[in-house]
Amino acid sequence: MSTGRVPFELVIPYRWSYGGPLTRFFEETKRNRRFVGARCTKCRCTLVPPPVVCGRCFAPLEKDLVPVSDQGRLETWTTVRFSYPGQPAEPPYTLGLIVLDGASNYFPHLVKEVEPENIRADMRVQAVWNPAPQGDLLDILYFRPL
């Protein structure tokens, strides 16, 4: 009488809706190679990408999206050195939380063209735009030091 394992690969197809704000955000990155954010009517902070509501204030966002610079500061980063399925790149690669100039929330993305030991907190970084954008996060290839 043995105990064992039953193998099974769960495969579930999904069709996720982008929804209004994200559709407009990625139209701008694709068509105009620029970031847009939404400004909270209460705390006046600009959030990128535009969310459904300013979570902190639960206050509505201004209807018109505002353009936001593609430069900013790298608040924190990590160089990933171990591999796991579904990674954005082959290790080692560096992930960062970027706060774009004019925005006030984290925008996560890859950081390249700098050795990990040379990265400093809050260093200035600049988006590198994809020459063939598809309207998704890879419209920005990565951020590099300014």
Partner: protein, 377 residues
């Protein structure tokens, strides 16, 4: 003695086959804002937020990470109950009975159009015995329906008449997006799906979200002119493997109803209740619920429904709109709307004082919750 608890507000998003233009957070934010507009309140009036959604349905592990902001739960006490929103309402009721909270917001969402009812329900089956055989919601409920008919408790005609009546009610309810004028013949000749279930015996596919506001007595009377008191509450759970239980018995429905009736002091349900909203999802299961909830005697569901002397599912029920994770909470909302006289076109006339709402979780009514609601003093 802790204070009584009342339903003081509700809101339902549009229900439709696919709300493709809305991100799930837009859907939830919309229904929460609608509730605040209807009650004239804002997030600072809410002490506790209880979310109901499902990771596999959303394709998002921890499906409430985005809901903290969308539902206005930022820096609030919050938790997620991974069952139909009616079970989250039960948990919110318990929180209010503790005495440390005055109000609780329950919000549930489900967008089956982003994934599928088959993957959602097949993955509920344990992985060794039922899952490899492809058991899912339709085939499981078909086996239960067949046993119910075999036990001479209902006929295909009873089921067809029930569907016709449900859709007729649904035509008076803007949220019943799938409601259509049907004849018994239409139902009995509709496409066979899994015997004895035909197309119209089954619920539609629906996306949607709903929200409910509960409050303790001293707060409730300030918020609403017609607070709807939760007088009775019962919950129970049955065996999982489909062949391990008598599918036609509905044991956990009966246990949940007994507990709710005992708490509310109800002895003869069909006489002391004025309206009921039940959530069997399929026609035969709705009929089975009439028996198991003690509204009619064994085998009498068909006649009881045809007699029309007791309004059941005036909203059309899940047969006309069935957003997964939300349909049970909608039954609770519809029962409260009836008592508050705010059910619009599908309002049951007369002075309604006590209502029943039922919701289930799992396949073939494996887990059930029953609420007894009371209007007025």
């Amino acid at each position: 003695m802790t204070e009584r608890v009342a339903i003081v507000g509700w809101a339902m998003s549009r229900f439709d086959t696919a709300l493709r233009h809305l991100h799930r957070e837009e859907l939830v934010h919309g229904v929460v804002m609608d509730l605040y507009e209807r009650t004239g309140l804002g997030p600072d009036a809410v002490d506790f937020v209880c979310d109901a959604s499902d990771d596999i349905l959303d394709g998002l592990s921890i499906s409430n990470t985005g809901m903290i902001e969308a539902a206005g739960a930022f820096l609030k006490e919050e938790t997620k109950i991974e069952e139909d929103g009616a079970f989250a309402a039960l948990h919110a009721y318990q929180r209010l009975r503790v005495g440390t909270y005055r109000t609780a917001l329950v919000v549930a969402h489900g967008k089956v159009s982003e994934s599928s009812a088959v993957t959602y329900s097949n993955t509920i089956c344990e992985p060794f015995y039922q899952r490899p055989l492809g058991l899912e919601s339709i085939t499981a409920h078909a086996l239960q329906a067949q046993r119910f008919v075999e036990a001479k408790r209902a006929t295909a005609e009873d089921a067809a008449d029930w569907v016709v009546r449900a859709h007729a009610n649904g035509l008076r309810n803007p949220h019943a997006h799938a409601a259509r004028a049907l004849t018994a013949d239409d139902v009995m000749k509709s496409r066979p799906v899994a015997s004895p279930l035909r197309l119209h015996d089954c619920p539609p596919l629906s996306d949607g979200a709903a929200a409910l506001l509960l409050a303790v007595e001293s707060e409730a009377t300030k918020i609403s002119k017609t607070p709807i008191w939760i007088d009775g509450l019962g919950l129970s759970h049955d065996l999982h493997y489909i062949g391990h239980r008598d599918l036609a018995e509905g044991r956990s429905v009966r246990e949940a109803a007994e507990r709710a009736y005992a708490m509310a002091g109800i002895r003869r349900a069909s006489e002391e209740l004025d309206v009921a909203e039940v959530c069997g999802h399929f026609s035969y299961q709705d009929l089975m619920l009439l028996e198991c909830l003690g509204l009619c005697e064994t085998g009498g569901a068909g006649a009881f429904a045809r007699s029309g002397r007791f309004p059941v599912n005036p909203s059309g029920g899940a047969l006309c709109a069935d957003p997964i994770m939300v349909a049970g909470l909608v039954r609770l909302i519809e029962a409260a709307r009836q008592l508050a006289g705010q059910a619009g076109e599908h309002q049951v006339p007369g002075n309604l004082r006590r209502a029943l709402a039922h919701a289930s979780s799992g396949l073939c009514l494996q887990s059930n919750v029953v609420f007894v609601l009371q209007k007025g003093a």
